[in-house]
Symmetry: C2
Subunit: 495 residues, 2 copies
């Protein structure tokens, strides 16, 4: 793996001084083209050995490039804010939008490697982190990103030499820390693990680019040229039609049975009983969310459902039991401009709450496999891969002690018609009904099919769907509250 | 995950009798089209619960389909032959060629699941097996295969009912074993693990298709229609241009240094010394391969190198030290027709030896990233993904105690010219030199670049490349023998 990066590559000063101005000009041009086209982001990871010039490379890029279109993120120790959320959250929040370059000094590989070297994790656990990293990158690439992963390498001799050199010079002495020397003693151990990381995560679409870090001239020119070539190649490719997926068609519906049709929508609760139950479960919810142990968990509640199924009403019955300081509601409509410049999960990652909080999503990331699928807003390849991307996403939440509660509010086609007509009659409700609602209604069967596929593919042990019979609003609201309490109780270890 | 497969799907007899003849005819037609086009194989995995109709489904397919183009493989307990080789070998040997259908009853998922349920493995280990399965499937799909994974499911009630029903009928009683009831008691445990397997391995290109197994009519029609639709859709797509990879370009060569150029090709051994060394290392090799412990390992030696670099001569110096019963040489030339109908690694998998044997490959799977890359015999996407596929392949070998020794025999361009000219002069050597050799020589630089990329990307801790300076044949032969002895000694725990 490291063969070519231990040869002692060197570029003499004269050549360097001739090459650099040309390279810088070309890089600036490429940046402008990238920004103008605004079709894909460039994500650059800088990893590698201490003393191999990671920091210098980042500084150099900042010096060479147009600062309007590039941003650097030094991913050191995570902040309080970040520790309170799943590990990947800090990376998601810094992803560059389309047309821009994000440089990450330290990445999703840093901690898995350090934890393994220090013996905090086993090989199998390292492998799991690497697979997660690969899935993340493969999703980013599928969403259009150009991912460039640089690995700055030094042979053992040269690492020692470089550290000594840096130490000797009064201007750079501060850069060599005890930690660097401690890591140097572990050189061989690190090397084995680095090799395995690189082997496992060098994919065709996002291979590691290993650069010998000893000679700054060689390093700088190499990194600059790789970035330049890669951006220009992608700009040329931008209009090529990409990856179609050979995917087997979904399960045919050969009888007329599906999970939605088996719901008993006639279930009802009478007014009197409703009042009692509402009081009971809202009280329970209020107590649960005020327990001391609640500070260690996070709750994400998510509502999907037919138009006019009563999502808003159900949400209000939850929030009236909560402390207003600790919950927030995220209504999900068409994505903003900023959101459209990012992978589709980005706009949900940004709303992932801290520990001890509740966030309620009114519609969600499932839009990808519902409305976007049915209305052809994305390609088949896109929504087909979304199921596993969403499962990955939720698995990351759950691994971080987040309780994910997913509701589908189901009403019958007749009940929907009644509610639409009623809304049109009542002045203050009229804003709630639009032409789009009527259009969606025409695609009832397509939506039904998409919902069944969604439940089959994303109702998991760790984040199951709850289907709520919602023809009777009272019944639906109680079922929602009850289910939510049950999940929180389980998370608090009460059952 | 299992929601739709626990609804009690049912097809009445009348409908079934009307549908089946139409379906069978369409399936036969699709099979003929598939065979005629001969562009892709169909790989069908049948997994699921005991009593959910896995065996019946296979029988049915055999009844409905044209037996010339379909083959079933019941993957039960592995044979001696199979246990002596890496786990995946038994699947590779049964892969259907292009134009045909292979049905696997039991798959690469079976043992990982059973081992996990019985507590022989940890969650992380299960995850590793699943990732390997995913990588295998993703490679198969990239090579063109249509992969259909059926999961036959039953709810707990219905599994019990079905087992009892089968037991009551004298004709089917034999089918219900103690093992089935033992598994039934573990239903909940299995379910959690099945769910996680399905969640992790349902990819866009090869999703699990979950079928409720209780009613045979429903099950049969569903499986038949899915297969029919999938084959027909793929036949329609067959001429569409598929997946291009957005891949960053390889490392530019900005100085003129590369690993091949740093080799000191002037190294020599004099005749007298050569005789002594040859005797020494051949003796050593002979002893090592005759040790009792050698029966527990396998050795694969692989030669690549420039044309006329002396591969044949080096191989003969190895084999003359070996027991002729226990080694074989695999000369790799252009693939045969049968081999062209399979994924490119298939023709190497078939030659993987049993324990205690030595197999020497004269040229190898690296052809994909050398000649096929340079001569444009495969697309860029194909050779870009090959690096990680090859690393995966070798990792499977090494995990099975196979010692993988890889040699690149390097000569200079001048030395090659001398040897070519010499060969043309000497009658009995003339057959060894062809126009193709002269043509390859013109692409010397392209090959050099491909070799450097290959070493950088596939020289791993577990299966490193050894570059052999081969301008002097004696030097090369001794280095090869010495290196081989060292690797075998290490594998036998002697160093």
């Amino acid at each position: 793996m490291f063969e070519s990066a231990e040869l002692g590559h060197k570029i003499d000063k004269e050549t360097y001084n001739i090459e650099v101005p040309k390279l810088r000009e070309a890089l600036l041009e490429a940046q402008i083209d990238l920004a103008k086209l605004s079709k894909f982001p460039v994500i650059i990871l800088i990893g590698g050995l201490d003393g191999a010039g990671r920091g210098e490379t980042v500084n150099l890029l900042n010096e060479w490039m147009d600062p309007r279109f590039i941003q650097t993120h030094g991913m050191g120790e995570p902040s309080d804010e970040e520790l309170d959320r799943p590990m990947m959250w800090r990376f998601w929040r810094e992803l560059p939008p389309k047309g821009k370059i994000g440089v990450f000094l330290g990445s999703w590989y840093t901690w898995p490697i350090i934890n393994r070297v220090n013996g905090h994790t086993k090989v199998a656990e390292l492998d799991q982190s690497l697979e997660r990293a690969k899935r993340l990158e493969s999703m980013l690439v599928a969403e259009g990103a150009l991912v460039l992963k640089f690995w700055m390498h030094l042979s053992k001799d040269r690492q020692e030499k470089r550290l000594k050199l840096l130490e000797k010079n009064p201007q750079t002495r501060w850069r060599v820390t005890d930690r660097d020397w401690k890591h140097f003693k572990l050189y061989d151990k690190f090397r084995v693990i680095h090799e395995s990381v690189i082997r496992h995560t060098s994919t065709a679409e996002a291979p590691w680019i290993i650069v010998e870090g000893y000679d700054p001239n060689y390093r700088n020119l190499t990194v600059g040229k790789v970035i330049l070539d890669a951006i220009n190649k992608r700009l040329d490719d931008a209009n090529k039609k990409m990856a179609e997926v050979h995917a087997p068609p979904p399960l045919p519906s050969i009888d007329q049975l599906n999970i939605l049709k088996t719901l008993d929508l006639s279930q009802k609760i009478e007014k009197k009983e409703f009042k009692d139950e509402l009081e009971k479960y809202q009280g329970k919810l209020a107590l649960l969310t005020r327990e001391a142990k609640f500070k260690d968990i996070t709750v994400i509640v998510m509502f999907e459902g037919n138009d006019a199924a009563g999502k808003g009403g159900a949400i209000r019955r939850i929030t009236s039991a909560l402390d207003a300081r600790f919950y927030s509601i995220v209504p999900v409509a068409a994505p903003t401009e900023e959101e459209r410049a990012q992978p589709y999960l980005w706009r949900f990652w940004r709303h992932i709450p801290r520990r001890g909080r509740v966030t309620i999503f009114d519609r969600s990331w499932y839009g990808r496999v519902l409305v976007e699928r049915v209305e052809d807003f994305c390609s088949k390849a896109d929504w087909m891969r979304a199921y596993s991307e969403i499962n990955d996403f939720e698995a990351q939440l759950v691994r971080h002690n987040i309780v994910v509660v997913k509701f589908w509010l189901a009403i019958s086609k007749e009940e929907q018609l009644n509610r639409f007509n009623e809304r049109e009659k009542i002045g203050f409700k009229r804003f709630k009904i639009t032409d789009e609602d009527w259009r969606n209604r025409e695609k009832w069967d397509d939506y039904e099919h998409a919902v069944c596929d969604m439940v089959d593919r994303t109702s998991t042990e760790i984040a199951p769907w709850t289907l709520v019979e919602a023809n009777d609003k009272r019944f639906a609201r109680i079922k929602v509250l009850k289910t939510l309490c049950k999940h929180i109780e389980a998370a608090l270890g009460k059952k």
